[in-house]
């Protein structure tokens, strides 16, 4: 079943889909997923089952679903983090980012992970200074000029809404920052290498409400420059900050639409039951 999703309407049928849902959008696509299946055990069983959807450019797309539904697994496919697991692989389909198949032989996975940055649930700054955390990526890419590095660090920390809080202590340890600040430092580290996409796997789940609000506000600002895909367990967060939402269940894409439509008039009963708290 193919759904033409535009920014105004949901067009899925009312019945729970028997065949894989395909979420296509009108407008510019950053990530195109075609019939993607994924396995952790060399293809014996599929954790992701024939997922097709488009992630639009410079918008926030949220993945929601119960624990174990495959949303984080799917997220990690976009920068091939799953390659780090020996028995894990895509078993069907393809993922194209900016028109390029990310599993093509000529793709440099390190370059891919520069273009598709990632922020994790538990903030993980390097055991270095604030400055060194942000400058690390550009330095290993060959930037040596101090002035240029200074400019990158300032730009990135400003982009992460952290500059004013740390500009007078750039040489102090990153571990001296609060949890929310450390997460924003991780975001600054990701944007220092000027990615096109930022993946966020439950970026606020370890943060208090105020730190969460600051990170959410930052996400709303970042989407003007970056395509953001966020996995979240909080329906309220998804409805607050995302433009589009995809609901997953047992490795399948159940529904994908504008956030406004999915949370007000979902077309699938499973989606309505999940977002209403009738099952989890």
């Amino acid at each position: 079943m193919v759904i033409e999703m535009n920014q105004e309407t949901a067009t899925l049928g009312k019945e729970t889909p028997d065949e894989p849902v395909i979420g296509r959008i009108k407008g510019k696509t950053m990530i195109e997923c075609n019939d993607v299946s994924f396995s952790y055990d060399n293809g014996k069983t599929n954790t992701l089952d024939h997922i097709s959807l488009d992630i639009p450019e410079k918008q926030v797309t949220a993945f929601i679903g119960p624990s174990g539904c495959g949303k984080s697994t799917f997220l990690r496919c976009f920068n091939r983090m799953n390659d780090l697991i020996d028995s894990a692989r895509i078993t069907s389909g393809s993922i194209n980012i900016m028109g390029q198949d990310i599993h093509a032989p000529e793709v440099d996975v390190i370059e891919l992970r520069k273009q598709v940055g990632m922020v994790f649930q538990k903030y993980n700054p390097f055991p270095k200074s604030i400055y060194e955390n942000v400058s690390y990526g550009p330095r290993i890419q060959g930037v040596r000029d101090k002035k240029e590095l200074d400019a990158i660090v300032e730009r990135s920390l400003k982009g992460a809404a952290l500059w004013d809080e740390v500009k007078d202590r750039l040489n102090s340890s990153a571990f001296g920052l609060s949890g929310g600040q450390q997460q924003r430092l991780c975001i600054a580290r990701a944007i220092a290498v000027q990615p096109h996409v930022i993946l966020m796997d439950e970026p606020c789940s370890a943060l208090d409400p105020i730190a969460t609000a600051k990170v959410e506000e930052l996400i709303m600002e970042l989407r003007e420059k970056y395509t953001i895909v966020i996995v979240t367990h909080s329906m309220q967060q998804a409805s607050r900050i995302s433009d589009n939402t995809a609901f997953f269940y047992l490795g399948k894409l159940i529904e994908y639409d504008t956030t406004k439509t999915l949370f007000s008039t979902p077309s699938q009963k499973q989606t309505e039951d999940y977002i209403s708290g009738r099952f989890g």
Partner: protein
């Protein structure tokens, strides 16, 4: 019929909200009946009964608003749950207006009964029966979440409008013919107006259910 929420208190809050709205609807309907019967049968003592529950109806409407707000704050309902809460608030607002008209009728009745009876009071009964039927249908439509009731209620309201126009025309002519009864006839015209407005609010309740 949607399944139960995992959080039982969510279901309890939704059920409580619905029960309050239905209670307000029932109060409106029963007090409308008492008010009109007091007028038609010239039984003044029944008026006091309606006026004694006036504050109860206002309190119930206020409580419905508070319950709905608390529901939204506590449970952040979405989709059909959110629509239900918003519908309940709007329906309650219409029932609150209906309650106001019921009280107005009750307050006019002693003034009408203090004056000699005029035969034109009989025009009110068919108008009341239609308005009462529309109100009953609208309450059922809310209870069943039936947006399709709007077409039937629109037809009912058209009939109410016709009866109201007939009554108004008759009262206007009667004032010209019998100016000594102008006070009572004007009161009756206002009662007819309240019944016509009750019909309008009943249609509004059904329209609210149409997404």
């Amino acid at each position: 019929m949607p399944g139960k929420h995992i959080l039982a208190s969510f279901d309890e809050a939704l059920t409580g909200l619905k029960e309050d709205v239905l209670e307000l609807g029932v109060l409106c309907r029963s007090n409308l009946s008492i008010s009109i019967n007091a007028l038609l049968k010239r039984e003044l003592d029944q008026v006091a009964q309606v006026l004694s529950v006036q504050d109860d109806m206002i309190s119930l409407a206020t409580r419905i608003d508070e319950d709905a707000m608390n529901l939204i704050v506590r449970f952040q309902p979405v989709a059909s749950d959110l629509r239900f809460v918003l519908h309940s608030m709007k329906v309650a607002a219409n029932l609150d207006r209906i309650a106001s008209h019921v009280v107005k009728i009750a307050k006019r009745t002693p003034k009408i009964l203090a004056i000699a009876e005029v035969v034109e009071v009989n025009l009110l009964e068919p108008l009341y029966l239609r308005a009462d039927q529309a109100l009953g249908q609208s309450i059922v439509a809310y209870s069943d979440n039936n947006p399709e009731a709007v077409s039937e209620l629109s037809e009912e309201d058209n009939e109410i409008d016709k009866l109201y126009k007939k009554a108004r025309k008759t009262y206007t002519s009667a004032i010209e013919d019998s100016p000594e009864h102008y006070k009572e006839l004007i009161h009756l015209m206002f009662v007819a107006r309240s019944l016509e407005r009750i019909g309008d609010h009943a249609v509004h309740i059904a329209e609210i259910l149409v997404d």
